[in-house]
Every structure is written in structure tokens, then in C-alpha cells.
Amino acid sequence: MIPALLFMLGIGAVCGIVLSLSSKVFYVYEDPRISQVENNLAGANCGGCGYAGCSAAADAIVSGKEMPSLCVINSKEGTQAVAKIMGINAGSAESPMSYNMCEGGLRADNKYHYMGISSCKAMSLVFGGKRVCGVGCIGLGDCVKACQFNAVHLGSNGYPVVDDDQCVGCGACQKACPKEIIEVKTLSEKLMKFNQVNDPLAPCAQTCPAEINIPRYINQLREGKYKEAVQTIRMRNPLPLACGRVCPHPCEDQCRRGVEDEPVSINQLKRFVADYEMNTGSRIPITCAPDTGKKIAVIGGGPAGLSCAFFLRRIGHQVNIFEAMPKLGGMLRYGIPEYRLPKKVLEWDIQGILDLGIKAFTHLNFGVDFGLGSLMASGYEAVFLGVGAWEDYSLGIDGEDLNGCFTGINFLQRISSGEKIKLGRTAAVVGGGNTAVDCARTLLRLGLDKVYIVYRRTRKEMPANEVEIVASEEEGIHFVFLAAPTRVVGDADKKCTQLEYLQMQLGEPDASGRRRPEPIEGSETLLDVDMVISAIGQSPDASFKKHDPHARMTQLELTRWNTIDNDPAILQSSIPYIFTGGDAATGPALVVDAIGSGRRAARSIDCFLKGEPVEPVKDSLQEKRIEESIFTSVDGVKQIQRAKMPELHVNQRLNSMVEVDLVLPKDSAHKEAERCLNCCRICYNPDSDFPISK
């Protein structure tokens, strides 16, 4: 007994002394987080994570190779504790979630009859799977099997559905999927996702300049999940109320239903869910990624600036907006009249963006009140320049400076600001775009007797939105087509009395595909008007470049249209830390274009701030269509009438600025949503009477 005890004590002491000495001699500094993380893992050394033992797993987590949720048998608390330890690292505390792009599953045709083992991985080895769709879900549920948390199940359409409450973002499903259909992404990654060539995208979603997932939100509307629908829209568009009213919806032109029937009234449905949120009076919470501590200045509070600020804020950056006008909103507020977009509605959209913690400074003119130098001195690390296009082109004819002559945007902006302008009785608005139509309809509401729109081509060539033209016809605006103004005639008091124009005829098509108007000699005609508004287009006001004394400013390159020169894929200007978008970069374009470019600029700014190379999105779809998704005929579609937009009767609308277009009632919105074929790249659901064959 005694010898045994002595022996064990002795051997123990020797081992202990040797080990304690060697721990001093062989000391190597190790990240203390490794042992902290290891303490919060399950400790079973089971190897389920693919690493040999828990200390190896802890090492991989701390070195950033794996997510805190690596341990497959860890409790939720354990995973959270690990995440918290790792949270000290800026940017890595954001928990990823599994996300599925494909909504197709069983809807696509089969190329062959598959009798092999039930595994997506195995089937994808044979011609990439049996489905005709090259990118879509195979539907054998490898992701379901891979998930250790029961967070993925196959939905009725045969594609995986992720339960966000169960998902810990371990990435097992993504690794198991041979098709890149199910992806584990953080919120920031989802917000900064751009359409790519191999994405499962419906034609409408490819067309939308903001890249909104249209089929998804229509589907959510159909299921009565209005809140989710608004959230889907807000992933891409921070101004759903404004866009739901003023967007000319290029998406509807590509609607697959539109091949055989009238297209789905997509924008009305967007407005329906957006209005639903506003009418409930409570805001749906918008989630943001953890703070990164980077500060960005957004110059210009229009749709491009607001969109850029919104997305930068949501991915965790600190954003301040600088606006020259008294209030935010840009062209939405000052260029679009009250009867199309009520200020109250716009205010709700903007307040929602500011509530994320974005500060706005108004009455500050870039280049005059502050400049590039002061921004850099205040610690801003990047600048988004979204100053819009506010400078009206002049007609370049005699008499343009007479009393009673105005320019389009300037006029609209002064009216919107509540300025009292001395008006006449009759007016001629020159131009065929939306600004011209807006001016004309506004003038009518201000009580003028007669308003003409003078346009040098015909109605068919008018660039204004069709609905706007129809509405102005209804309201009694007179159109003078094929007319090119040549002179404004004034009286002795320098007051405008007449507009002289030359009649035109259409010749050969020009570069834009529209037939070029040619003047008819000696056809001068006089139009009796006491006001002339020229609304023939705008360009950005680049005077800030001249005013800003900062030496760097001279390097900012402009195009010959006075827009800020940039690389359209990344929106970086000639000064690396200045990014630009919206009208300031493209010249006058759609609100939804500005919103899309704001998000694209946000992505580039994020890359820039992280020190990564600012490169275009790989395989970006930008402005292109996926050929196989554009059909020339569509089976299984019957004629169902498109929901008619409710609007105020002409008699009611002309003596006030009350909003003309109304929101769809609930039942028609649902009926309209039912018309959506829920398309994907090549899948779609035919109308209910047809069997699902495609």
C-alpha cells in the first residue's frame, strides 16, 4: 500500500513538474478567445462539425474560418455565447440566415426520368439535374437532410422553405446544395445582393431598376401577409409609397401575363401593401446590421440619396444627409405635384428612413455652405453625390425672358414650396415629358382657363407616362402636336402675349428610334397665351464644382451633359471616395432608377470602406434580360380583366390639389394578385383551370 502510494505520488510529481516547467519554456501566446469559445462548445469532441475535436473547432471559429454556429450539437444559448465572444470583432456579430431564391421546385418540366438515389447531389451529376431549368431547385431535399435544426422543409411547390426561428445560419444546407439555390447570408449580404445572370428571376424582377423581388411580394399579398410583402419591397426600395404612386412600372411591360393578356398591375399592388402599412399607422420595424463605426455623407436628399442612405444605414454605417432645399425628398417633393404624390405620404416614407438613425441637415448648399474639404475634416470616409438634375434647358428662342415665361422644374418647385406666382389665364407648356404634363395639370388646378401642351412630335412619341397623358386629356388639356416654338411675342410692358411656333412633319427615325420632326417652311402659327413654360428637359447643376475651393474638386470629371462621370457598374466617380447616382449621374430618369442606383452605390461604398477593391458585381444582370425567360407565347393563360385603377372623377379633382389616383380596394387587390402567374426564370403557374404542366 505505502510503496504504491509513494510510487504514484512520485510519478505524478515528476509528470506535473515536467509539464509545468515546459509550459513556461514552451509558452506560445494564444488568442484567449479560443479557450473562451471552446468552453461554450458542446465539448463532446464528436467531430460532427467536420473538425477534429472542440479545440480545433474553437480555433476555426476564432480565426474567422467558421461561423459561431459551427457546433452542430450546441444549444442555442451556447451558440449565442460564442457569437457574443466573437462579437468583439466588428462586423462579424451579424447572424446569417438561410435563404432560398428558387420558388420553382416541381413546376419545371423534366428532361428525363430519374431513377437514381434520392439525392440532389447525385442527380445534379446527370446533366445538372432532371429539370429543364438549369439553375432551379432539384427538390430532393439535400438541404433538409443537412439541416441539424429542423429549420428547412420542402414546401408545397417542392422547394425548400426556411423557418427563420429555427435557423442558426450554420451553412450546412448551402454546402449540401449542388445548385447554389439555398444560400446562407447575413442581412447585409441580402441587402447588397444584385441580380445575376444565373439567378432564378421572373421577367418583371429582371426589369425592375430597383431589382425588387416582385413575384415574392405579390405572393405574400395573396396570402394576406401584407407586412412581409412590405418587408420584401423594403429589401430593395425604401420609398414604396412614393414609388407605388409615381413609378411608370417598366416591370409591367415585361410581365409574362402581358404576352397573352393585359399585364398584372404590379405597381398598384405595391401601392396597396405600402398604403396598408401607412393606414395602420404603425411602422413595420426595419432591421439594421450592427454599427460599423464608418461615417458617410450623402449629398442630396432626393430618391437616390435617400436610397443610398437607407441601405448604408441598414448595413450598419452611420449616414448623414445634406440637402440644399428646406426639406428632404428632392424631385419627389418639388418636382412631382401634390395631386400625384401628396406631401403627407412622402413625409411618411422619408420619416421611416430617418427613423433608422439617419441625420438630415437641410438648407445646406454643397460647394457654398460646405464642401469636400469640410466633409473630410469632419471624418466622413466616403461621399455620395446625388444632387439630381435641376437645371432646366432653355428653349433658346427670342422672348424667352418676357414676363410670364417660366421653366418647368423651377416652376413646379416654386409652386411646391408654396410661393405665390402671378399667373395668367392661358398657358402653353412646351415639351412632351412628365415634367411638361405635370406643369400643365398643375396650371389647370391653379385655375387657368386654357392650358396647351406644345410638342414637336405626336402623341405616340411623347415620353410622358401613358396614364398621365390620358389623365390630362380627360382633364381637358389641349394638345398642339408637331409644333416647334420659334418666338415668344410680348407687348409693350414686356408681358408675354403669344407663342409663335412652326408646324412640323415627321421624317425618318433618328437614333432614339422616334421619327424626326422636320419643319414645314412658312407655317408659322400664333397661339394666344399669357404664360409659356418650357419643360424640355433638365441637366444637373454642377456649379458646386466651381464654388468648392477644395483642390481635389477640380479632379471631378463631368460629361458633356453636365452629369457626373462615373463607371455605371460601380458608380464611382473620378475621385475614388465620391460615388454618385440618380439624375446627377444619368440625367433625368425614373425615380426607381435613382433608387436602384442608390443601392448600387451603397454596395460600392461598403466595399470601398472595407478596403476591398470596388469591382462590379460578378455576372451582373444590370439592365439585361435572361433570354430563356422571355417567352413569345404562354400556355394556360386566359383573359382576366386587369384591375382598374380607381381615381377621382374629373369634376372633383380640377379645383384642388387632392390626390387623383386612389388605392385598390382589398378585394380587387387580391383578385389582381391572383392574376400573377408567380413566374420564375422559366416556371410559372398557369391559371387555375389549366393543369400545372409548365
Binding site: 504504491a4 515536467v18 519554456v25 506560445v28 467536420g50 475535436g53 447531389k121
Partner: protein
Amino acid sequence: MGDLFVLAISCIFINNILLAQFLGNCPFLGTSKKMETAIGMAMAVIFVLVMAGLITWIVDIYLLKALNVEYLRTVSFILVIASLVQFVEMFLKKSIPGLYAGLGIFLPLITTNCAVMGVCLINIKEDYTFLQTAVSSFAYAVGFGLALILFAGVRERIDIARVPKCLQDTSIGLVTAGIIALTFMSFKGMV
């Protein structure tokens, strides 16, 4: 020399530590999911087993037998092997970081591994000389690695096969291990 070769062959194939003696089943199932992990584990086992076999042989001859306390063999071996592995881990981390990066993460796993312990006890039981101990330890470890890598290869294939739910993962792994063990039985009688 010929004897040593026969000893090595018998340790690797006929008396394979995993598939004939069924020692060290936990790492056999735990680290055989991926080929990469299995190879790392096999290397670590070779490294540790040779060292452990030699040091326990020394402990046995010069301490246990000399002091006449052979009944403390198991408990003192556990202590010695555990300390040895810890020591080696620290040593590698400081002196040969490259090797540590490859093997280090597997070392703590082997600390109290029954395969290591088993081989050390077999060496003593068979009354091997120092040289024989070195050869047998190395050969057993190679046998362990061989079985582990074979098994990892099989399991990677099984992963994409259609397996009834009740048999998935470890269950089918054990069944497979049994079948591989049967095939190893055919080596009996070779020597």
C-alpha cells in the same frame, strides 16, 4: 530482421488494432467523416503511438518491474501517456509550428485513447524488446491509419447513398465497420 517484418505485417493486417482488436472505436467513428480529417488523425496516431510505446516500455522495465509494482501498470501508463501527449503538444507548438498545425488539433483527442493504451499494454504482455516495441507500435499505428482512411473513403460514398432513416450516420457506419472487419479476418493465417 525477417522477424521484425513479420511482426509489422501481423500488427498492420492480422491483428489490426481497430478491425481485429476493436480498440479506439471513438476516433474511428468520430474522425472518419472526411478524408482530410482521417489522414490528419492517422498521422497523429502514428506519431503519438511510437513515442508512447517507447516511453511506457522504459517506464515498465526501469520503474515498475525494478520497484516490483507491476500492479500499478495501467494507472501509471495513463498518467505517463497523458503527460507525454501534453508535453509533445506544447513542444510542437513552440518548436515545430508547421507540424503542430498539421497534427496539433488531433493530439488532445488521442490523450486517453484506448488504442494507444492497448498497444502499450500489448507490448509489455508480449515481452517485446525495445526494438520490437518500436516496430510494433509503429505498425499498429499504421494499421489504425489504414483502417481509418479506408473507412473514411467508404463513409464519403455512403453520404450520397440512399440509407433508410433508422440506419443513417453512425448506425450504417458501425455496420460498414463490421463488414470491413470481416474482410480483415481473411488475413488470418497469412503469417
